[in-house]
């Protein structure tokens, strides 16, 4: 019976390792490949940590399995050995993991800084400034663009353009926007871009990402904000700058629509 349990508890870690091994190929981890350069680096960090942890996991599980098996094999007659502990063993298994952890902490610092520390944001985002302001509210995402040709200001301006649940950004270069919330805490989460940032009431938080490939990217809310949290979704439409300008120009016309369609315009 003991052997059965020893094998039983050894079997599941093997299954765990197998599933971690096949997971990337089967798409069990991430929804897609990272669609932004920073996202790729984040994924790289993830896989690095996964590798380290797997090695440790295999080591410890083998140790556990060995101990279980020995106990099962030895039988009930032998007395246990009393050990006063081993100072050197304790030293080793404290120092080595701490070195590994410090390594991980230092290795990821630059990715963290680029993502979270404003002074490390790509230079282009400092020059361009925020492209739009995204205000999270229960349960939608309100977008405010500055008037084409002007800078975004924190106070709404007469020429600002408004949209909801759909943000148009340019591909191929870092884009920064201001994240706010109208009511409770929300979180801006673009899974395919590996971007996540809490929206905190009272704060205006700059968030940046870069999207090389044009397309539609999901945004979901990642901070429980009420009964509609599950359906609080938006779309990032990434397209060439020219098309973004076209979209904004159309938005401006639409926002200035006065209900009168003249004959000339109908011919267009």
């Amino acid at each position: 019976m003991k052997k059965f349990w020893a094998l039983f508890f050894f079997f599941w870690p093997v299954v765990a390792i197998w599933s971690c091994w096949v997971a990337p190929a089967r798409g069990w981890w991430f929804p897609t490949e990272a669609m932004s350069p920073l996202g790729e680096r984040i994924d790289g960090l993830f896989y690095l940590i996964l590798g380290i942890v797997t090695v440790v996991f295999i080591g410890t599980q083998f140790a556990l399995g060995y101990v279980l098996w020995q106990s099962a094999v030895k039988g009930d007659d032998e007395k246990a050995e009393f050990s006063h502990g081993s100072h050197s063993l304790e030293l080793i298994w404290t120092v080595v993991p701490s070195f590994v952890l410090v390594f991980i902490a230092l290795y990821q610092m630059d990715v963290w800084a680029e993502f979270r520390v404003q002074s490390f944001y790509p230079n282009q985002t400092q020059e361009d400034g925020p492209r739009l302001e995204l205000t999270a509210r229960q349960f939608e995402w309100r977008v405010r663009y500055p008037e084409p040709g002007t800078e975004l200001k924190n106070q709404p301006q007469p020429g600002d353009l408004y949209a909801v649940n759909e943000m148009h950004v340019a591909t191929g270069r870092p884009v920064k926007f201001n994240l706010r919330t109208d009511d409770v805490q929300h979180a801006f989460f673009a899974p395919e871009l590996r971007v996540k940032q809490d929206a905190v009431a009272g704060l205006i938080i700059p968030v940046w990402f870069e999207i090389p490939k044009a397309g539609d990217y999901d945004v979901v809310c990642a901070e429980l904000c009420g009964w509609g949290h599950y359906k609080m979704r938006a779309t990032i439409v990434a397209e060439p700058q020219r098309q973004v300008d076209e979209y904004l120009s159309n938005l401006q016309s639409e926002q200035n629509f006065d209900g009168v369609v003249t004959v000339d315009d109908e011919d267009e």
Binding site: P158, G228, K231, S253, G259, V260
Partner: protein, 585 residues
């Protein structure tokens, strides 16, 4: 050891069973509620007379007959609601498992949706049958030659080129160089079954030349002797006779049904749109707007402003004139943009076009149900509400007399009232979707300028228009009207809270124009419409008598209020929209 294991396993099995017992599927056991007005009618007016020879429906029966309950919605065809489904007629019943039909509209493309056919008229009326396969919209072409012979001849004449062979299903064809289509089948060498992408006009005398564009017979041209349309043929999953006999056995005492005949009206997948809308509504809307659209769902009590109560048939933010109902376009706009400044969010991208259409139809159905109930109530309340009955008894009438007068009313006058009410509903809701109902300014927007805004401010403060009375001198929504005590126009009782009230009896706070939040949309045309038609249901009145040029001045002023340094002073920053507004939709 084993005993311990058994106990654990037993717990596991019990836990698993609970899931099956409690169920993990949808259980929509909900029902529509009746309005306060209906509930305050005398009981006989609510329930009608159903004892003995009487079969006079009361108010509740009338509503249930026409609208049903969420689980069993009724399709009252008089209402301008898209119930979904395609109407058609039976052409022939060649055998018990096949029906040849003619449909009034194009058949939906979805083939994986289960197909239900309901007989609406004729001997099999109300019976629903399942269709296994529906072939539709095909054309049978009898060729003047023989395909094999033609192709062999072509091959012999064109040695050295590709050898052609018989066309197969899926090959593209062109009829008379004009109409594109494709081959569905080649039943024999003299017949082809084809599907065309557009209308085929068959003119007698005109030669019909069919050219194969792709496939084994590409480039070959054949002449068609006769081209006839093959009507949609439905192969049923059961046997008609058996189904009808089973229905008759199960419903003894009701009319016996028999096999349908040519000319019977049928509906394919009737109610699909409403079913879809119901599912979406219950999932996404009912927690605020309530099962019956009464604006009183579980989360409604926490919200200011309250969610819309559809049952008055009144919606605030419309593009239609002050007498008209809301249009479908307006409802779509609300779903797309949400209502900024309220708890109504945008439902795009969550809902696609089909979803939005289904939800809009369901909401319209709920609104019409509420309105129908209200109008029935209006017919019955003056004489037969509980309060009225008490007054009549005090006035000397006896209860049996009143009940008898109610019976007479239901038997004789109710039919006319119903007709009037339903005609009214139909007209109002159909008109709302016409172009004529939409408010279109008779001139383009006056270009935004300090001068226009100054004129707008003057009009804002003028005695005739007097926006400041409610919206306040500085546009903060704190005008003198917000402090009065007014009476409920229906009950003639004073409201508990000071200020203006809307038709839903909620406090109607005039908009604070300094915030730059425009619930019905921030386009100049949206503001124009708010002013022109007022905001239906609220105390914002209609200013349709004001010349459109003046309305534009007011619009320009209102749009500038959030950027004013002081009330009535033009903002320091230059407002934009100097460019001439371009047309768009």
């Amino acid at each position: 050891m084993l005993v311990q294991m058994n106990r654990h396993i037993a717990t596991l099995i019990a836990a698993a069973l609970m899931v099956f017992v409690a169920g993990c599927g949808e259980s929509l056991n909900s029902s529509f509620v009746y309005s306060e007005q209906t509930e305050s009618l005398m009981l006989e007016a609510q329930d009608g007379f159903h004892k003995g020879d009487d079969d006079l429906p009361g108010a509740k029966d009338l509503i249930d007959e026409r609208f049903g309950n969420p689980q069993s919605l009724k399709a009252w065809s008089k209402l301008p609601v898209d119930f979904g489904g395609v109407t058609g007629r039976v052409v022939e019943t060649p055998d018990s498992k096949t029906l040849i039909l003619n449909f009034d509209a194009e058949l939906p493309v979805q083939t994986d949706v289960p197909l239900n056919l309901q007989f609406v008229s004729g001997p099999a009326a109300t019976i629903v049958v399942k269709i296994d396969k529906l072939s539709s919209g095909a054309w049978a072409a009898s060729l003047s030659g023989n395909l094999e012979t033609l192709i062999r001849a072509h091959n012999d004449n064109n040695q050295g080129e590709d050898t052609k062979s018989i066309p197969i299903a899926g090959d593209d064809v062109v009829l008379n160089d004009d109409v594109k289509g494709r081959v569905v089948a080649t039943p024999d060498m003299k017949t082809l079954t084809l599907n065309f992408d557009e209308e085929v006009q068959v003119q007698s005398g005109e030669p019909l030349m069919l050219e194969f564009v792709t496939g084994p017979a590409a480039e070959i041209v054949v002449e068609i002797d006769k081209l006839s349309e093959v009507p949609p043929t439905a192969s049923l999953s059961g046997n008609l006779e058996t189904l009808i006999k089973a229905h008759n056995d199960n419903n003894q005492g009701e009319e016996t049904k028999s096999v349908p005949v040519a000319g019977d009206v049928v509906v394919l997948n009737g109610g699909v749109v409403l079913q879809h809308g119901r599912g979406l509504y219950m999932r996404h809307c009912s927690h605020c707007h309530g099962t019956s659209g009464d604006g009183n769902g579980p989360t409604a009590q926490y919200l200011v402003p309250r969610p819309r109560d559809y049952r008055q048939g009144v919606f605030k933010f419309t593009s239609t004139n002050d007498q008209a109902k809301i249009s479908r376009d307006d409802l779509h706009r609300v779903l797309k943009n949400g209502i900024p400044g309220t708890y109504m969010p945008s439902f795009v991208p969550m809902l696609n076009e089909d979803d939005k259409h289904a939800v809009v139809e369901y909401v319209r159905l709920l609104a019409m149900r509420g309105e129908f109930e209200k109008k029935i109530g209006v017919e019955l309340s003056p004489d037969f509400s509980k309060a009225a009955v008490t007054a009549r008894i005090e006035g000397g009438e006896s209860k049996p007399e009143i009940v008898e007068s109610l019976r007479e009313f239901l038997a004789e006058d109710m039919a006319d009232s119903l007709e009037f009410v339903s005609d009214d509903l139909e007209t109002a809701w159909t008109t709302a979707d016409t172009d004529g109902a939409v408010i279109t300014p008779d001139m383009s927007r006056v270009p935004d300028s300090p001068e226009s805004r100054r004129l707008g401010r003057e009009l804002y403060l003028s005695k005739g228009i007097n926006c400041a009375d409610c919206h306040g001198i500085a546009g903060k929504g704190d005008g003198p009207q917000t402090t009065i005590f007014e009476k409920n126009p229906v009950t003639q009782q004073l409201y508990d809270t000071p200020g203006l009230h809307d038709v839903w009896d909620n406090v109607n706070q005039p908009r604070n124009l300094t915030r730059g939040i425009y619930r019905g949309g921030r386009r100049p045309i949206d503001l124009f419409r708010r002013i022109h038609a007022g905001i239906k249901g609220s105390r914002m009145p209609s200013f349709k008598i004001v010349p459109h040029e003046q309305i534009w001045h007011i619009v320009n002023y209102v749009l500038s209020i959030p950027f004013e340094v002081e009330p009535g002073h033009a903002p320091v920053v230059n407002a934009s929209a100097e460019a001439t507004p371009q047309a768009s939709l």
